[in-house]
Amino acid sequence: MSPNPTPPAPHLFEATHVTAVMPQQGGDHTVFHDLSFHVDAGEVVDITGPSGAGKSTLLTAFARLNAHTTGIFTLDGKDSDSFTPQQWRVRVSYLPQTSTLIGETVADAIRLPWTLKIRQGERKQDPAGMLTDEHIRQLLDDMGCADIELGRDPRELSGGQSARIALARTILTKPQLLLADEVDAGLDEDNADKVADLLKRAASQGAGVVRIRHRAPDGRANRIMVLKDGVLSEQGKGRN
């Protein structure tokens, strides 16, 4: 039934007919209508555009978190409706702009995803057993988060540290597609660079990465898309 010719191999992630209609006083407001988007494994795609163009809405639509969007989303050619919401979001993982770290310590915050039923499976394992402190420490060191102690209260972290921990938490869950919603907003150059490295690394390990960015291009994107006035178009190729 698809109007598009089927490509020889499906993209890692493909979204078609994505529409967002926000309820508003005095009638509904269509943010965008019938957008298409795709990303391949190992690819970093940036989405830019003016504030209010609906970039975050688009990303939350991909993760099927947004109550006001519709569309057809596939992962490796499989429709999102054939997954449970939890199965889908474990694979297509949205990382919000404001990092919310839940738990008493940084280690707890990192382990949070493993306390959820979807990752507990039938084994009912203790999250601390599945992800030991030493293991987390090593992963964080690998990710350039050596400056963050595991026993610290997440509320005491700086903005840059919280952003990196939130990103590390999502990366450790190994999603197939990582949707990063302006996670470098408000960070200094150094931290923004670290965050960009983490995302690029996730892509080099086979994930698809979509970033919403307001900063100047940092040379890590394979493609840059612009969402403006309800239209999503490709701006130009990045260097890689």
Binding site: L65, A67, P96, T98, T100, P113, I118
Partner: protein
């Protein structure tokens, strides 16, 4: 047994009580506390409601008819639902059946366990036991439920970032709502638990006082009060769990997407008039 050392309150007594309210209202006017009107109004309401309840109870007790007892409990249930809904702030529309269900379930358990297994009156529907017990239980549960529901929806609104993060990491709707459910049930239980802990030290609870004033044996009254307090504590927990277990889904739509329902406007006369006025405006 009762030794009939029971002192009734005559009309002069009522008048003195009313005078006390008037005096308090007078003070509040002088101090500009702005509660005089509602104080007097509430007093008038309470007087009428209590007297009407007394007259009805007197009638029902004298008739000793099982259907009358059931009808009276039915009316009390409907009133309890109405009061719960009007006290709960920021809750969406359409919760009436759920509130009714949880009140009916807890009430049935209350009557079968507390009245029939513990007190064992003859006949089983003895109105002087069943009706006051139901009334006390409903009163207790209503405030707990109103508190718990208000807190739950408030918490679900406050936690939108946390809920978004949890869902994005693969949490189910239940997992995302659980902290709000726990905190609101806990809040609803606080007064009940506080009552349990302070009973007999700070206060002689209302029921026990009533029995003693009516000439009952204070130790018997204490036993009664203990049964009431403990069973109310467990029933309140049960009612809260039933309601929140059924209600939390209201904060999510299909595919476990988080979407808070609009709070229902408080049912007031002004709202009804406003609705009609806006409908008329739309029509013209």
């Amino acid at each position: 047994m009762a030794q009939h050392t029971y002192f009734t309150i005559d009309n002069i007594g009522l008048l003195i009580a009313a005078c006390m309210v008037m005096a308090a209202a007078g003070i509040s006017v002088l101090m500009k506390l702005d509660v005089a009107k509602s104080l007097v109004w509430s007093m008038a309401r309470a007087l009428i409601q209590l007297l009407v309840m007394g007259i009805i109870l007197e009638y029902v007790i004298r008739q000793h008819n099982v259907w009358l007892v059931i009808a009276l409990i039915g009316v009390m249930l409907v009133a309890a639902v109405q009061i719960t809904m009007s006290r709960a702030k920021g809750v969406p529309k359409g919760l009436v059946p759920i509130v009714l269900l949880s009140l009916v379930v807890t009430m049935l358990i209350m009557i079968s366990v507390v009245a029939e297994l513990i007190v064992r009156p003859h006949p089983w529907y003895a109105p002087q036991v069943v009706v006051p017990l139901t009334g006390m239980m409903l009163g207790n549960t209503v405030s707990a439920l109103a508190l718990a529901m208000s807190r739950f929806f408030e918490s679900m609104r406050e936690r939108y970032e946390e809920i978004g993060t949890l869902l994005a990491l693969g949490a189910t709707a239940w997992e995302a709502a659980r902290p709000s459910i726990i905190s609101s049930i806990r809040l609803g239980m606080l007064p009940t638990i506080a009552n349990l802990a302070s009973a007999g030290i700070v206060t002689i609870p209302g029921m026990m006082s009533g029995q003693i004033i009516a000439g009952g044996n204070p130790v018997d009254a204490a036993k009664y009060q203990f049964v009431i307090l403990t069973s109310f504590a467990s029933l309140t927990l049960l009612a809260g769990t039933i309601i929140l277990g059924l209600v939390y889904r209201r904060c999510f739509i299909s595919y476990d997407r988080y979407r808070m329902p609009d709070p229902a406007p408080a049912p007031s006369i002004r709202h009804l008039i406003g609705k009609r006025a806006s409908a008329r405006r739309r029509a013209s």
